[in-house]
């Protein structure tokens, strides 16, 4: 997969999570499983990164280059400067991952990805230590900081499940849902999370007048998996998707209200529809953050692609939920 000057923005994923939850393990896992993707990781310091000499290509005070094309950068005192250094790299990256500090709210950090056209916010992922999270939440000094962090998550990664019983894992999930409402939740051990959660190939490109618009079908995967078959495998084992072309003209407030009540098993949604307020509008949803805004490009047709977790009773629910949001409205302008 290659990017050129006109290609889509580099997706930025922000990893939050309390001290010791397993953020660094997760980042290390992705770096080692990059499989040809060039990932740039921004971390607070190199201390916890345990990089084997065989992986190491070059190192200076604020950058470690790996032999597989990925890099780790130390954030230092200014995240924006570190991001600019990554963007100025002559060889562009396929994805950027920012590891937030253990006590910070990752959401303001994620805003950085909206502040440069070359970047796109892919989502906020918060790693949770399945055994420690409720204990931390019970500490009056930490409770509000922890909850702020958890509420920022588009996706919760419940980590260290090898250290607890299935019942504990269930309890923890129930507690998270009770505290946070519906938010997508996945489980991992030693931070080993499928890289599909980082990749963004599934995103529909804006069809800016190039050739005939293709007809999308459910499970549409033709435009994202050709280069890396393992991605597709990885991807379809975990997710189901839905692609549709809603013809209606929407009210932005209605759409926003609908997207605020998205079920927990919906991971992401992106597309272009027409609205009364803006004409062609871009619709985005990830985890719990939704936006509807004026489209920067003019698409040739309305298109909405949605990804949901396969492991949930979602196969039928997905289509019917989307029908409720996007269909059955009057189709006129």
């Amino acid at each position: 997969m290659t990017h050129n000057a006109t290609s889509a923005p580099v997706p930025v994923t922000v990893i939050g999570g309390f001290l010791g939850a397993g953020k660094t393990s997760l980042v290390m896992h992705w770096l080692q499983q990059a499989q040809g993707q060039r990932i740039a990781v921004l971390v607070n310091d190199f201390g916890e990164l345990n990089i084997d000499a065989e992986w190491l290509s070059a190192r200076n005070s604020d950058t470690i280059a790996l032999s597989n094309g990925c890099v780790c950068c130390q954030i230092g005192s200014d995240l924006s400067q570190a991001l600019l250094r990554v963007l100025d790299n002559p060889a562009p990256f396929d994805a950027i991952v920012i590891e937030a500090s253990g006590v910070s709210d990752p959401w303001p950090i994620a805003q950085m990805a909206l502040a440069d056209k070359r970047l796109g916010l892919h989502g906020v992922l918060v790693v949770v230590d399945v055994q420690a999270v409720r204990q931390h939440a019970a500490d009056p000094l930490l409770h509000d900081s922890l909850m702020r962090q958890l509420r920022s998550a588009d996706l919760l990664v419940v980590n260290k499940t090898d250290l607890c019983s299935p019942a504990e894992q269930q309890d923890c999930t129930a507690w998270l849902q009770q505290m946070l409402g519906p938010v997508p939740c996945v489980y991992s051990q030693h931070g080993r999370l499928a890289r599909a959660f980082l990749q963004s190939e599934w995103m529909p490109e804006p069809a800016v007048g190039v050739g005939p618009a293709h007809a999308c079908t459910p499970h549409c995967s033709h435009d994202h998996a050709s280069e890396h078959q393992h991605h597709a495998t990885d991807h379809s084992a975990l997710f189901i998707s839905d692609c549709r072309s809603p013809g209606a003209v929407f009210h932005t407030e209605d759409l926003r209200a609908q997207l605020r009540q998205t079920p927990a098993w919906i991971m992401r949604l992106k597309g272009w529809v027409r609205t009364h307020e803006h004409g062609w509008s871009e619709v985005q949803f990830a985890g719990r953050h939704a936006s509807v805004r004026r489209a920067r490009h003019v698409p040739t047709q309305a298109r909405v692609l949605t990804i949901a977790q396969r492991a949930q009773p979602a196969a039928q629910a997905l289509a019917s939920w989307l029908d409720g949001v996007f269909e059955g409205r009057e189709v006129n302008v």
């Binding site: 190199f46 201390g47 916890e48 006590v103 959401w107 950085m112 502040a115 900081s145």
Partner: protein, 560 residues
Amino acid sequence: MRPTSAPITIYVARDILTMNPMQASATHVAVRDGRILGVGDLAELAQWGEYTLDTRFADCVLLPGLIEGHCHLKEGGMWDMEYLGWFDRLNPWGQTVQGLHSMEAVVQRLTEIDQKMQQSGAAPDKPLLAWGFDPIYFGSERMTVEHLDRASTTRPIVIAHANGHLMNVNSPMLRTAEIDEDTEVEGVVKFKEGPRKGQPTGELQEPAAMFLVLRHVGDAGLLSPMDETGMLNFARLANMQGVTTATDLVNTLSEADCAVLESALAKDECCVRILPAFKAFHGTHGATQGAEHVKAMTQRNTDKLRYGLVKMMLDGSIQGFSSRMRWPGHFNGAPNGIWVTAPAQYEADFEIYHRAGLHIHTHTNGDEASLAAIDAIERVLTRAPRPDHRHTLQHAQMVDAPMFRRMASLGLCVNLFANHLWYWGDQHYEMTMGPDRAHRLDACGSALAAGVSLAIHSDAPVTPLGPLFTAWCAANRITPKGRVLGEKERLSVMQALHAITLGAAWTLKMDHEIGSIEAGKRADFCVLRDHPLTLGAGKLKDARVWGTVLGGQAFPAHKA
């Protein structure tokens, strides 16, 4: 018999307030090799042998050179931008820039600056950068493009707020930065109603929103690195305020930053001693390396530059509603603030720097943060006792008597942010903490009563550098609206002067060298035209400063 290598100068003064309680006052001080040879009367000092009598201070009062235990060199680095604060402020050229008390006054000042820029031939699109604006003094009124566009509809204007978290820009700047109704970055404030509904107001909150602008105007203001010009401006401001020793209480100690410190301080005209504190709020694994770095840097110490301090940080600011407060929290109901460092990580890092033998200064504003620091330090000291560590809580603005008693028993020092009593005292009373806790804000009296070693500070450039003003705040505890906050917490004039001399020296482990006028110490003096004890508490801030003496060399603040 006697070593007579260097010449002796004996200064005569109207009075010498030595701050040495065993010899509180004198008329003469003898100086040799930049150090104090003796203090007393002429007959006593003449016994050292041949001397020159210097009478230039005959009408002046000498104090030990004043010590600012918590400020930042940026105080001297802000002045390539325009000051737009509420309070009058002295610039490095000795002029007082008038404070601005209404949006109208701000607009008018900006209009004048724009006109001056035009007259001086500045490019029409050269940005006008300003600092020091603080909306907390304007009640609910917010600055918007509707104000700033009246100053200029062509020149980009950027106003950095005093708290460092916000800025305001005008429409030309919004256009340059391509910020419009569709900009999604949170923190780009938009009009909620009226004809401009949905359009950006020009207020930008927090780093991501400010980044939209900063990448077009460069790292303006607080973010720009310190350079030698800024250092020399700092030295001028210190000189005008009688300061001979100051901290730079957050410094990366990078090679570039150290090079600026070392080259500037090698110059005589940079007439101040500086103690930079290593920025030790870093990632989870930075402490071991950080401690080694600071220890290695102490090898490069000179008379005027002392490495060795470590700065840690637990919470945010009270007026920014980001400090960590105990029950009952903010008076106006705002949610509790943020941890800059998680308490557990603070404790782990603190222990590493402590075991390395370093001297740690911790920023804690809210009382929950101060308590977390005290608890952590108590556990560290139990595991790793160390005599005379002098670890210091900085700001510690809401510490109460029970916490001070624990601090005393742990050997902790405190450097209280007395300038807050004046600059935000009314806001603390009305908005942030309410009457009771505002009355014990920066509780200097309680600290001394508990036996805690006390310094007081300005945190310049957050508030202006000026220890005599800081002493006035601590001695009067008056607010701009005329409230007295906690009369019983007031310091006497002598206690206040101690806190800006020997008290501050103690918190920096410099009390054997500076902080009082006695034999063997460095010849650092603050030279005053007025006697502080005659002025009394009420007028302490009005004492006129002649200048300073640093290591025996006189530096007049105003060239004759």
